[in-house]
């Protein structure tokens, strides 16, 4: 059974806050839920499926379903790091296709700027061998970038173009945390954080959140909103696998991407807009290669000279400014990737970055730690005429 046209995104909401010292995390979830449902023209009483991950406080769906006052018949708390919410769209479509629910609500929220957040889970089998190492996300992604440079000659200047493109888009987003346009020189002269990644190669840390509403095609047609259909989805995980044949230059998106494109029946050359999870500049470069927008090792050349800038380049990406410049709520950029793809497909992106006739988009992400074990999720979305 295919997910092609099995479900539609009818509601999307990105919380405008980037700093929320006086709010609670459940409150943020609730405001995101209300925003996405209002966008769809639906209410909490219409929801019969609820999706969340470990950013949800307490007992996850049990706590949040009660807090929100939902009456649901299907729930899913699949957890795959920051790309989870892309995966949730596909899992919601699966549930809808099976008749398990018809209006699925997905929420994400957190306040990592306002309060300490536990990011590592005790008891993992690898913990004793890895935690003392200092494998922060910076060093993990730094090792991927270093190996990519070693094997393919990728340069810091090429990586910098990814931040430059994101900043060109962020200047048009009134909510972006970093709205200032930067240059390649700005990026490569910013302080080194974890070689070879500079401060401006890294994403922002923000409080906030987002929500999505996924419904059956029948319900979508009754709502007075553009219908955004799911055409295909793929997911995959990758890890050191015992350490033989370690390859830090390839991500799990090399599997999730082709699976999504095959189900959708389209190719990367058909895509008009791409939301690419950008925890770091190297994250984007590897996913572009792994999804097939260019050959492995050619990512540096592909992103150079503004090729990702809307209106200038061949592949407009992250037109909200992405995690690099706009928002990375709760260290989890997956949901904002879907939200900006929906804006583009509806023609509701900032006018300066709106892609003309944008009818086909991809949203893809990495969760976990790219230099260790991680997951990838990819979805292909289409605007129905």
């Amino acid at each position: 059974m295919s997910l092609r046209n099995a479900a539609c995104i009818v509601g999307a909401f990105e919380h405008p806050t980037r700093l929320a010292p006086d709010m609670t995390t459940p409150q943020l979830h609730a405001e995101c839920a209300a925003g996405a449902l209002a966008d769809a023209g639906l209410s909490l009483t219409d929801v019969d499926g609820y999706f969340c991950a470990t950013d949800a406080p307490g007992f996850g769906p049990i706590s949040m379903i009660d807090y929100l006052g939902l009456d649901i018949r299907h729930t899913d708390s699949t957890e795959m790091g920051g790309c989870t919410y892309i995966q949730h769209v596909a899992h919601a479509a699966q549930a809808i296709a099976m008749g398990k629910c018809s209006v699925a609500l997905i929420t994400l929220a957190g306040r990592p700027r306002s309060e300490a957040v536990q990011r590592f889970r005790p008891g993992a089998p690898e913990s004793a061998f890895e935690q003392w190492v200092g494998l922060t996300n910076h060093t993990s992604y730094g090792m991927c970038a270093a190996r990519h440079m070693h094997e393919f000659g990728t340069t810091s200047e090429q990586l910098a173009w990814i931040k430059v493109a994101a900043s060109h888009h962020a200047q048009h987003n009134p909510h972006a945390m970093l709205p200032k346009v930067v240059t390649v020189e700005d990026v490569v002269t910013s302080p080194m954080i974890a070689d070879p990644l500079h401060r401006l190669d890294c994403c922002v840390t923000t409080d906030g959140g987002g929500a999505l509403v996924v419904v059956s095609p029948e319900i979508a047609r009754t709502l007075n909103r553009p219908v955004i259909s799911l055409l295909g989805a793929g997911e995959a995980t990758k890890g050191p696998s015992g350490g033989l044949g370690l390859d830090l230059t390839v991500s799990a998106a090399a599997k999730s991407g082709p699976r999504a494109f095959a189900e959708a029946g389209v190719t990367p050359s058909d895509i008009k807009y791409a939301s690419i999870y950008d925890s770091f500049t190297i994250t984007v470069l590897m996913q572009l290669e792994d999804l097939g927008f260019c050959a492995k090792g050619e990512g540096g050349k592909f992103v150079a000279d503004g090729n990702l800038i809307s209106g200038t380049g061949k592949l407009p990406f992250n037109t909200d400014g992405g995690g690099l410049c706009n928002n990375h709520p709760m260290f989890r950029g997956g949901i904002t990737k879907v939200i900006e793809a929906v804006r583009q497909l509806r023609g509701e992106a900032a006018p300066a970055v709106q892609v003309p006739n944008c009818d086909l988009a991809v949203a893809t992400g990495i969760g976990g730690s790219l230099g260790a074990r991680h997951g990838a999720a990819t979805i292909i979305l289409e605007r129905q005429s």
Binding site: E130, W132, G134, R147, P240, G242
Partner: protein
């Protein structure tokens, strides 16, 4: 420069022999009797074939740097995080010890140089599998 704390590992029945070996200066990895392949980190079942017939193997403790990243910010910085590919095959996530971290490079030959973890902040806890460049 702030001192970086290295928390003592918590051995369990799957890993006790690894930490005992390291305290004696030997890096133990696992090898599979059924598929003959090695793996790291060590575990009860072979991640390559699923066999539960895995045995301890004393590594020579030598290999080369697969990739590295020097952390420049935060507690104890700078320090070098790396994957070292052992001559027996598997890659090990580790830290590199060097007088000059900028001298380290992908492809460089390295050897095991265990460092003590912090037991009760005393620095005399169980050894951790650090590596250092051969010739340093």
């Amino acid at each position: 420069m702030s001192v970086r704390k290295l928390p003592a590992p918590q051995p369990n029945p799957e890993t006790q022999a690894f930490w005992d070996g390291l305290d004696a200066g030997v890096l133990r990895i696992k090898t599979c009797v059924d598929c003959q392949q090695t793996h790291y980190y060590p575990r009860h079942i072979c991640p390559h074939c699923g066999s539960a017939d895995t045995r301890w193997l004393d590594s020579a403790g030598t290999g080369e740097i697969y990739s590295l990243s020097v952390m420049r910010r935060g507690e104890g910085a700078p320090f070098a995080v790396a994957y070292v590919t052992l001559d027996e095959g598997p890659s090990v996530l580790t830290n590199l010890v060097a007088e000059n971290l900028d001298s380290l490079a992908i492809g460089q030959r390295v050897r095991l140089m265990p460092q003590s973890s912090d037991a009760d902040h005393a620095g005399d806890g169980p050894a951790l599998p650090f590596f250092t460049a051969i010739g340093d």
